[in-house]
Structure formats: structure tokens, C-alpha cells
């Protein structure tokens, strides 16, 4: 019934257009109609397809003069009709981009997992390290849990700007987090790009990678300890690419200092600043690398950032007030045979970060006998990780990662020393192994095992089964 209606409409429309179209087009439409009639009895489904094509041909005849002229050319009427029916009209330039009319390109990320921890994640810490985000929150719940559901929208704003926003819907408390929301220039030229809004900082390598694109289920210990997983800020960024045959990128950011390792600085002016530089090139036909250095400077507001139980013994909950500087070195190397990544490829990532804090630690009186006091406090610590991921089959990848936080030096005042607040001699470390199955570019199912020795006296064996699905716009990933 419906099909009949479509057919009638299509033919009616064809007739209406017949008068306007050239003789050649008439022949063309006639030809298709004849074909339809001839096939009607035998191939009901094919008729439907041809009708669609007929409609396309009509559109082409009506709107595309060029198509009509082409059809009028040397080709015979039948051949032309077939060609016009089988091909789309040459589209207007606007339709050939990847964005849908004026709607932003939208992509949706769905993540979820099953986690098995041999130690209770709610009581886990990283001994000796100022875990800025609550460690138990960072590990997430045991058992089944939903990860972040992310929606990203992006489009050119106009001829000068491009805008993008990523909203992450948390699995609990129904919170919506604006992970990134920024506009950037497309037209400054000379290699400059200026960005304003909230965005993942360009420091390091993995920091600016969204969780769904990580090669492991969880971030590295350094990212967790020093960067709050993904360090982002509200501010501005200027990046310059040098006019050289090798890649040289220089970048700087100014922000409010809203997030750890700082805390909302609550002042006019600049609360955080970063600088970064990257250099990169190809090595042979199959390899390429990027090497970078970066630094971040930020500070806390008067109430400080909470340092939870710094030595895992005293039960102190001591706010730290002062400056934080972070220095990082990052390296990425990727390789594929002949540079053809589809069947096999290898990726090596290594990052090292060092942080220095210089300020005041506020001690609350506590059960361990530390009296209330505020005294100078200096801390110097570092950490690194190295990970390799090998895709050995178009659908399968395996990866290994080693993580370590390196105990540095700390200088506390007499009150803390007398109260027995000491830094234990302990080096937190962890190793991880994962295998993931990628049936297409849009889905990933991962099995990961961690042995986590980041808390003194504990071995936490962790197993994750995770899924990551990308819906909508085909994402483009950075190197």
C-alpha cells in the first residue's frame, strides 16, 4: 500500500518534471520507468530500489544542469539513464564535509565495567603521596559499574572559530560534568591557534586524552597523584606550530587554577600557568615519534588543598597551602609496517613528572599526638610510567604498563617531626596487562589485570572487564 503510494508519487513527480526537463532527460526518465515496469512482477524489492534511484535522477535533472549536460553527451540514452540512476548527483560543496547541515557533529561514548579488587577500594591510598583526588573515588566501586557516558559536540562556529564541548554524565549522583567546553580559532594563520574555555591541558601526553581513548582502563599513578587524572582548567591557550618540515609545537596556557594540583585560587589574575613544547617527526617509513617537555605552576587558596593521611599512620588530615610546580617529560613512539596501521601497529608511551611544593602545612590536633600548628613544608616527589600496546591483528591488541611513584624529599617543621609525622621509606608501584578486542573502530572490549602495590603493606590484585562504545560522528584521534 505504502509502496504503491511512493510509486505513484515518484511517477507523478517524474511527469511534472518531464515538461521542464530536456528531451534527453525525458528519454532518461522514460527509460527508467520502462525498466521499473519490466521488473515489477519479478522483483518487487528491486523496484523499490529503482524508485529511489529514479527520484535521485529526477533531482539531478531538476537541480543539476551539469548532470543533464553530461547525460546529453556522447553516451547513449540508456547508458546515461543507468549511470544517472546509479550515481548520486554531484553534491554541493557544503554537503561534502563531515558535519550534518548546521547541526554540530555529535558523538556519544558509552563505558561500563566489572571490577574485582582484592583489597577494599574505599580504604585504599597511595602511601606517601598527596593524592589530590580521593583515592577510593579514583578506583571506583567493586563489581559492575557504569563508567562515564560522554557526549561531545563540535562544529565550526563561523568562518573564524570552531567550538567543541564534552559533557560527561557521571554514573552516580546524576551529575553532569563539563569536561571540556571551548572555542578555538581556525583563522589566525601563521601556525597560531588560540583557545578559550575549559579544556584538558596540553601538558604531558596522556593528560589531554579522554578516558575512553586511554590504552588501559585506568590512568597511570602519576596522572592520578599529580594531575587528578586529566588536568583541566578554565582559561586560555595559545599554541604555535613552527613553519618547519619537522614538527615543533610551543604552547602556553593561563587559567584560574580551579583544579588539583591547585585549588580554586579565588583571586583576580592568573591562578595557574603552563608551558609546553613538543618536537616530532617520522623515523623511516613506518615509525614516528613525539617528544615533549612541559611545566605547570599553580597554587592553592587560603584554605588549601587537603592532604589525606600523608604517611598512612597518623591519621592527619592536613591542608596544604602554597605553590605547586610540576615538570614533565613525555615521549610517544608509534610504528606500523610501512605505516599501514590497520593490521599491525605498536605504540610506546613514556612519561615522567616531578612536582615541587613549597608552602605551609596546617596540622590539626589528632590522636597521634600532633598538636595544632602551621609550619613551613617542602615536598619534592616524582613518578613515571612506561607502556607499550601492540595490535597484532586488526581486532586485537595487547598492552603492558609499569607505573612507579618515586619517593622524594620532604622537609617538615619541628611540630610534625616531634609528632612522628614521617614519610615512610616506600616506593609505590604497579604493573598492568591488558588485552582488548576491537570488532570495529567503534567498539572495544577489554580485559585488564593490575597488581597494585601503591599502598604500604598491601598487594591489591585488580581485574577489570570494560567496554567502550563510540556512537555517532567518526572520531578523529590525536597522535
Amino acid at each position: 500500500m505504502f509502496q504503491q503510494a511512493i510509486r505513484v508519487c515518484a511517477i507523478a513527480l517524474a511527469c511534472a518534471l518531464c515538461t521542464a526537463a530536456r528531451a534527453q532527460s525525458n528519454n532518461e526518465l522514460e527509460e527508467i520507468r520502462n525498466q521499473i515496469r519490466a521488473l515489477k512482477d519479478a522483483y518487487e524489492s528491486r523496484i523499490q530500489a529503482l524508485e529511489k534511484r529514479l527520484k535521485a535522477a529526477e533531482d539531478a535533472a531538476a537541480t543539476q544542469k551539469a548532470a543533464a549536460e553530461e547525460a546529453q553527451g556522447a553516451q547513449q540514452a540508456a547508458a546515461a539513464a543507468q549511470a544517472a540512476a546509479a550515481t548520486a548527483p554531484p553534491p554541493a560543496a557544503a554537503s561534502a564535509g563531515s558535519q550534518n547541515a548546521f547541526n554540530p557533529a555529535i558523538s556519544l561514548i558509552l563505558m561500563g565495567r566489572y571490577a574485582n579488587y582484592s583489597q577494599d577500594p574505599t580504604t585504599r591510598t597511595m602511601t606517601g603521596f598527596l593524592s589530590n583526588s580521593n583515592e577510593s573515588d579514583a578506583l571506583g566501586p567493586r563489581g559492575f559499574s557504569l563508567g562515564e557516558s560522554e557526549v561531545t559536540m563540535s562544529a565550526n562556529v563561523d568562518h573564524l572559530f570552531y567550538g567543541q564541548a564534552t559533557f560527561a554524565v557521571g554514573p552516580d549522583n546524576n551529575t553532569v560534568d563539563v569536561e571540556e567546553a571551548f572555542a578555538q580559532t581556525t583563522s589566525l594563520g601563521h601556525g597560531f591557534t588560540f583557545k578559550a574555555g575549559r579544556f584538558f591541558s596540553g601538558i604531558g601526553y596522556n593528560n589531554s586524552v579522554h578516558a575512553h581513548a586511554w590504552d588501559f582502563e585506568d590512568p597511570s599513578l602519576v596522572q592520578r597523584a599529580f594531575l587528578g587524572n586529566n588536568y583541566s582548567d578554565d582559561g586560555v591557550q595559545l599554541v604555535w606550530i613552527a613553519p618547519l618540515p619537522v614538527y615543533v609545537e610551543l604552547g602556553a596556557e593561563l587559567g584560574r587554577g580551579a583544579n588539583p594540583p591547585g585549588s580554586n585560587t579565588d583571586k583576580n589574575g592568573i591562578g595557574s600557568s603552563t608551558l609546553f613544547a613538543h618536537i616530532g617527526d617520522d623515523i623511516g617509513t613506518g615509525g614516528s615519534y613525539r617528544f615533549g617537555v612541559s611545566t605547570l605552576r599553580t597554587s592553592t587558596n587560603a584554605s588549601g588543598t587537603s592532604i589525606v593521611d600523608i604517611d598512612d599512620r597518623t591519621g592527619t588530615n592536613s591542608p596544604y597551602v602554597g605553590d605547586t610546580r610540576l615538570y614533565g617529560v613525555d615521549f610517544v613512539y608509534k610504528w606500523a609496517p610501512d605505516g599501514n596501521t590497520k593490521y599491525q601497529n605498536f605504540k610506546l608511551i613514556a612519561e615522567w613528572f616531578m612536582t615541587r611544593r613549597d608552602g605551609t602545612l596546617l596540622f590539626n590536633e589528632n590522636s597521634a599526638g600532633v598538636p595544632e600548628a602551621a609550619e613551613a613544608f617542602k615536598l619534592h616527589e616524582s613518578g613515571w610510567y612506561v607502556q607499550g600496546v601492540y595490535q597484532f591483528h586488526p581486532e586485537w591488541r595487547v598492552g603492558l604498563r609499569y607505573d612507579q611513584l618515586t619517593e622524594g624529599t620532604w622537609q617538615a617543621g619541628p611540630v610534625a617531626t616531634a609528632g612522628g609525622v614521617t614519610r615512610p621509606e616506600f616506593t609505590p608501584w604497579r604493573y598492568s596487562a591488558m588485552i582488548d578486542w576491537n570488532p570495529s573502530e567503534f567498539s572495544r572490549i577489554r580485559l585488564q589485570f593490575n597488581q597494585d602495590r601503591s599502598q604500604i603493606g598491601l598487594v591489591d590484585n585488580q581485574v577489570f572487564v570494560q567496554y567502550v562504545y563510540s556512537l555517532g560522528t567518526h572520531g578523529a584521534h590525536k597522535f
Binding site: H159, F192, V239, L471
Partner: protein
């Protein structure tokens, strides 16, 4: 130390760019467009070819070297129609080069100038990684090259107007040579009409359409999805019932599946160049088509 290195690199590069200032910089996404730009642009263009015939153009890393080259490009020549959707947007957004952004004269997408095949009426990723704007592998219909060459010639005169007479002249010459070549290829390929192909991916569609071949099926169960053992067995059964004339792959596609099927069905497995550099014989656009047709004719030869 690093600073000194960077500075010396900068200096060296400045010298190189000063010397090469005469030519405009073209960033060509694929080898076929690099070759075409050289045909039309001659010595007035300096072409950087971003990918090789051994690389799957869908799956390219947005490498630092590509960003660096994009930074200095005056003209971008790509297939478009979302073939490069997985990597080109990153290059454009990070290059800080306003000249090559979409809609600018410096952004040339070849697929905008031809009629595209296989434009889906509805898109759903359950059908694989399909292209909503139609099949983007447009260059294997030699007639499309002619249309793109015309448009590219016009674009070059726009981007580099001081050499417009030169580009017009070369476009005309290319047009004449290519038109002649098309008639030769069509004559040579006449025996191929109706030849049944099983290509690895839907990237021979334009060749098939142009020369009147038949695409029986693909080795990939769905575009972009590699074949499983089960799917290959299914293909084997189908091909034994209804044999095809050749099973084809491009240089960057897995040879194992083609060999496996070819061994069991005795249908010749053929490696097609697909683009310039895909076989030792395909040295430029002309030899690309010479070689493609020669390889198919060889496979067609009755046993």
C-alpha cells in the same frame, strides 16, 4: 642543548623555505592526488604526499610530521567524502593554517567534483564503516580524473594566480593526453566487460562501474570489518557454486585472505595497484591504469 638544536633546525628550515619560495606548497592526502597535482602544477608546485600506496587511507595516524606539513600548505588536495575523517580533522585543527580549512580556496576535495556511487539512502553502523556521502574511492574511474583535473587546474589558478596561464596550459595538455588514454584503456579493457570480481573492500567500485565489470561480493563482510574464518568459509561455498573471475586486493590489504580463497577455488588472486606506487609498474597516473587493466586482462585469460 635542546634549544640550540631547535634553533639550528629553525635556521636550516628558514633557509630551505627561502630557496623553495617560488613553488606553492601542496599537501596531498593520497598518492593519486599527489600525482595529479604534479601533472597539472608542474614545477610551480611543491607536493607533499601524506600517505603511500602501502597504507590504508582510512587508517592514518595524525602524525606530527603531517601536522608540520599541513602548517605550511597553501593547498590541500584530498579525496574528501569522509575518506580521511579519522585523521584529517586533527591535522586541520592543530595546524594553525587558515588557508586550508574547509570552505577556503586552499581546501580541495576531489570527490566534490564527480558523481559518487553507492550513496546510502540510510546510514547505520550495523552496515559497517560506511560513508554517508557515498563511496570515496573515486579515482579508479579514469573519467573522474579528467573532471578532477579540470577543477584542480581552476583551483590552482585561483590559489596561485600569478601562474594561471601555466596551469591552464598544463590542464589543457593533460586533458588531451588523458582523453586519448581513456579511449585506449576502454578499447583495451573491452574484453573485461562482465568480468566478475571479488574485491577485498568496496574500493574498486568506480573501476567496476567504468569498465562494466561486476562486483560479485567483497572479502570484507561489511566495509571496514576484517573477514572472520567463518565468513571466508561462506565465501568459499558461494564461490564454488558461482565462480568469479578474480579475487582482488590492494597492496595495503591483507594478502592471506585472498591467497586462502584463491588456493581453494582456483580463482586467480590479483593484487591491483589501487593507486600510484601500489605495484612496481604503477609509477604515475597513466601507468596506474595501464597496470590495473593489464593485471585484470592477465587474470581473465581463459585457463
Amino acid at each position: 642543548m635542546k634549544l640550540a638544536f631547535s634553533l639550528s633546525m629553525a635556521l636550516a628550515a628558514a633557509l630551505i623555505t627561502a630557496q623553495a619560495h617560488a613553488a606553492i606548497n601542496v599537501f596531498a592526502c593520497e598518492p593519486e592526488w599527489a600525482a595529479l597535482t604534479k601533472e597539472i602544477g608542474g614545477d610551480k608546485v611543491s607536493v607533499y604526499q601524506a600517505t603511500t600506496a602501502l597504507q590504508d587511507p582510512h587508517r592514518i595516524e595524525a602524525r606530527p610530521s603531517l601536522i608540520a606539513r599541513m602548517r605550511s600548505a597553501d593547498l590541500l588536495v584530498c579525496s574528501g567524502a569522509d575518506l580521511e575523517v579519522g585523521w584529517l580533522p586533527v591535522l586541520l585543527h592543530t595546524s594553525g593554517n587558515e588557508k586550508v580549512q574547509g570552505g577556503q580556496p586552499g581546501s580541495f576535495m576531489a570527490s566534490e567534483f564527480v558523481s559518487r556511487l553507492e550513496v546510502p539512502s540510510a546510514v547505520d553502523r550495523a552496515q559497517g564503516d560506511i560513508h554517508p556521502f557515498g563511496n570515496p574511492h573515486i579515482h579508479l574511474d579514469a573519467r573522474n580524473i579528467l573532471r578532477v583535473a579540470q577543477a584542480l587546474g581552476e583551483r590552482l589558478t585561483k590559489v596561485d594566480s600569478s601562474n594561471s596561464a601555466y596551469y591552464q596550459q598544463r590542464t589543457k595538455e593533460f586533458d588531451a593526453r588523458w582523453s586519448k588514454a581513456i579511449s585506449e584503456w576502454e578499447a583495451r579493457a573491452a574484453p573485461l566487460k562482465g568480468m566478475k570480481l571479488v574485491p577485498y573492500h568496496k574500493d574498486q567500485a568506480y573501476l567496476i562501474h567504468w569498465l562494466g565489470l561486476v562486483e560479485e561480493m567483497n572479502i570484507e563482510p561489511k566495509p571496514g570489518i576484517p573477514p572472520s574464518a567463518g565468513h571466508l568459509t561462506e565465501l568459499l561455498v558461494k564461490l564454488k557454486e558461482e565462480p568469479a573471475d578474480a579475487i582482488t586486493r590492494n597492496a595495503y590489504q591483507d594478502p592471506k585472505a585472498v591467497e586462502w580463497l584463491s588456493d581453494r577455488t582456483k580463482i586467480p588472486g590479483v593484487t591491483l595497484p589501487y593507486t600510484v606506487g601500489g605495484t612496481p609498474e604503477a609509477k604515475d597516473l597513466f601507468s596506474l591504469f595501464d597496470d590495473t587493466i593489464a593485471r585484470l586482462l592477465k587474470a581473465k585469460k581463459p585457463a
